[in-house]
Amino acid sequence: MQLGPAGGVRGRLGTAACLLLASGVAPARAAAPTPTPTQSPTPPKWQFEGSGLLYTEKKRASVIEPTGRITRFLSDGQILSATLGIDAITGASPTGAIPTTAIQTYTTPSGNVQTIPVGTVPTNKFKDARLSLDLGWEKPWGGWLTTTLGTHVSREKDYQSLGASGKLSLSFMHKLSTLTVGGGYNRDGVFPTGGTRAPLSDGTVIVGTGTNRKTVSTVLVGASRVLTRRWMIGVNATRTTERGYLTEPYKVISVVDSLAGDPTGDLLTENRPASRDRRDVLLSSVYHLDTGVLYASDRYYWDDWGIRSNTLDLRYRHELEEHRWIEPHARYYIQTRANFFRYFLLDGEPLPDYVSADSRLGPLQSLTLGGTFGFQVKDRPGEWAIRAEFLVQWGKAHPAEAFGNQVMTNMSPPVGVGSVVVLYTLKF
C-alpha cells in the first residue's frame, strides 16, 4: 500500500496535530535573539550610548551586559570616548565531557515505565562578573591623516587583560579611498580558581597558584574605496599572534571504554599549544539603495591550529517614516576543527601532547537570524533600538570517530540562543 508521496504524510500530520493541539495550550516553544552595535553619525558635542540585555534564552549561561559609552566631539575634529562594560555571568558551561548518556526515563511499546538515575554532569557551574573600561582618542591631522589610540583594561575573577592599540588612516583621491594600518598589544593574566591544574591529568595536581601569562599582538592592514555614489567596498587583513597560556583552565575531556564507547568516568584536563597564529581577511560592501543600506561581508579565517572558518554576514537597514528603521540581519558561520580536537580519549591510549574537547575548537556551524527596530519616542530626546536575534549552533551529531554506544548519541547537540537587547543613543 502507498501512503502518498514521501514526506507528504508528515507534513499533513504536522498541520493536523497543530490544529488539534491549538484548541487549548500547545507545547511551548520559544524563539528569540544577540548583542549590539550602535551607529554614531553626525557629531554634536556629546553623545551617550547605552545598551543592555533585556532577555536571553540561553540556558547555559545568562549574561547581563549593560554598557555605556560617552563620546566627546571637539571642534577641531578630535574625538574622545570612554566605554564602560559590566558583564554578570551565571550559569554553566560545557566542560568538554561527552554528552551524558544518563537515562532518566523509558519509552516502551508496552506502556511499562521505569526510572533509573545515573549521574553525569558535563558542565561547570559558574558565577562571574567582568568589568571593562576602554578609552579612545581620535585626531585628524589635516584632511588626509587620522590617528586613533586606544587602551583597554578588564578584570574578572580569574582573568585580567591590559591592552593598547593604535591606528593610522590615510585618505586620498578626495577621500574616495582610504588606507589603514594599525596594531595592538594585550597582556593578559589567567589565574584559575583553585590554582592551575596539571594538563592531561585528573585535575588533582596543582602545578601553580600564580598568574599564567598570555600575550596577544595584532597587526592590521585595510583599504576601502568608494566605487560609485552608492557603493563602497573594503578589504581588511589582520594577523594575530598569541603566546603563553592558551589552555582553558576548566575544560576537560572524557575517557571512554574502547569497546562500548561509554565514559569510564575519568575526565582529563585539556592541554593546548602555547602559541597560536591567527589570520583573517574580511571583504565588505556597503550599498546605498533609495530607502536603505545593504551591508554584506565575508570573513575568511585560518590559524596554525588547523581551524579554518568562514563568516557570511548580511544586514539591510531600511528607513521607515518618522525616524524609524528596521534592520534584518542574517549570519552564517562554519568552521573546521583544530587538529588536536578530540571528542574523547580511549581508555589506555597513549596521551597526546595536545588535546581539547572544547566544542568551540570542533567542527561547527551556526546561523544567526534577527533584526533591529529603531525608533524615537515623540517629544523625548534620543533614539532607541531593540534588537532581537536567535542563534543556533550545531556540530557533528555523529562524527566518524563515534563508536559503540556513542553511535546512538548526539555527540554535539545543537544549541539555540536567543536574546533581546535594547540600545539608546542620545546626542547633546
Binding site: K59, T115, T123
Partner: protein, 306 residues
Amino acid sequence: MSPALPIDQPDAGGSSLSRVEDYYLGRFTAMAGPCQVLVETDDRAEAADLVRIAREEALRIERKFSRYRNDNIVHRINRSEGRPVPVDEETAHLLDYAATCFEISDGMFDVTSGVLRRAWTFDGGERVPSEALVRELLGRVGWGRVTWDGGALVLPAGMEIDFGGIGKEYAVDRAAGLAASRTGRAFLVNFGGDLFASGERRGGRPWGIGVDDPGRTGRATVMRIELVQGGLATTGDARRYVMWRGRRLGHVLDPRTGWPVEGAPRSVTVLAGTCVEAGTLSTLAYLQGPAAREFLEGQDIRFWVF
C-alpha cells in the same frame, strides 16, 4: 540495572514525588498505565504543582474519552444508534484529526476499528478468531461510513469509535502544554512510554530516554535516545501478541483485513514535534508491516526501528 531507586513520598491526590539527582520525579497512574513527570527544578512545590496539573489533565482526558465509561461523549456517540450527536469543540478537534489520519493512511488508521479487538485476545497464546467473526466485525468498521460535518457526528448503529490510538499521546501534549504555560523549567512528561520533552536541561543537557528491548520489556534497554524537545512515541508488540502457525502477530490490527499487521518490526519509535504526531507516525509506520522502515525514511523524521 536499577541502582538506588528513589524512595517515593506519597502526595495527596494519588501521586508521589521524589527527588532524583537534580530533578523531581512525580509518578501516578492514569489511562491504565504508569505516568511520570520529571521537572528540573530545586523547588519542590513547583514540581508538585506541575505533577498535579499533568495528572489532572491525564485524568480529565481519560474520563472524557475513555471507551470504558458510560458517562462521556464517547459513550454517547457509541450508543447513538445512528442519531446525530452534537459534540464539543475538543471532541471535534480530535474527530478532525482522526479524519485526517484516515484519509492520509488510505484507511489504515481508523478510529472505528476498535470493535475488531473483540475478536482477538493478545495474551501470547494461540487463539485466532473465526473467519466469520472477523467478517462480521469488519462490517462494523469504516470511518468512510461515518458522517462528520465538524459539529455533529452520525455513527451508524453497531459501529463504535475509540480514541485509544491517539488519546494517550494527546494527553501527553496537553499536559506538556499546560505545564509549559506554567514554567520555563525543563520537564518531561511520560505517560506509559509516550513522551514529550520541553527543552534543554541545565547545562544544555538532554533528557535520556531508554528504549526497551521489545523482547525483554522492562528489563533490558535496547538503546538510549537523547531528547531535548519534542514528542516521542513507540508502537510495538512487546507483550500483546498471539502466536499463529509459528508466527508472532502483534496487537495492531489492520482495519481492512481485521487481522494483525504481519511482518512489522518488533518496535517502532518516532521523534516528532508533538507526541500526537510521533504516535500517529509510529502507528502508521507499524501498519506498513515490512515496509515500516521505508515509510519512515520518506518522512524526514528521526526514528528507531527494531
